[in-house]
Symmetry: C2
Subunit: 111 residues, 2 copies
């Protein structure tokens, strides 16, 4: 591959792609679900709910965090995670905007 070409695209395209990448694993979607269902910051209960090792879950959490979709803070001996609604909503509307933009221009399929 030699060089990645990702940075040759627009910032918007890259941002949206990064957001999508963060969502591109069922484990991470399941984590987001759990975080919301519990209506509170959950630490390692996630580990019990998912069919994955603790280190793997921790890694997925790290990815969600670095993508900005969740926030994490240390609470005594355990870690507390929450969905970052702001960022989530931003990407969601950006995604909808792209979709609406596409939709408006072409309605009839041609092939």
């Amino acid at each position: 591959m030699a060089i990645h070409k990702k940075e040759e695209f627009t910032q918007k395209e890259q941002d949206l792609a990064n957001f999508a990448k963060a969502m591109a694993h069922p484990a991470r979607i399941a984590i987001l679900k759990v975080l919301a269902q519990r209506n509170a910051c959950i630490c390692g209960e996630i580990v019990d709910l998912l069919p994955l090792a603790q280190s793997t879950v921790s890694q997925h959490l790290k990815e969600l965090k670095s993508a900005g979709l969740i926030t994490g803070s240390i609470d005594g001996p355990r870690s507390c995670y929450c969905i970052n609604w702001k960022a989530f909503e931003k990407y969601n509307s950006e995604f909808n905007f792209l979709f609406a933009n596409l939709k408006v221009k072409n309605e009839k399929a041609c092939c």
Copy 2:
């Protein structure tokens, strides 16, 4: 890794993750944009518009097609691609549903 654990999650989680994965590259987002802007099925004009080799673009098109986001048909010596609005809308609303589901349960950040 030995075994992939992806199939241990629910079908909905997997579907949404697969959709996200298809969107998880700026080149593929750019392709979708082009397909919509041209308001018609575009074949290899995409190659001229993207900073990628023809074979690479073809591969991205294949992924979008196998994810069901675009359709393709042969038109003489060239190939014609279109956005599959139906599937796109389905995933979009599924995504929104997940988001709304999350949103309704938790509004105040706790960390």
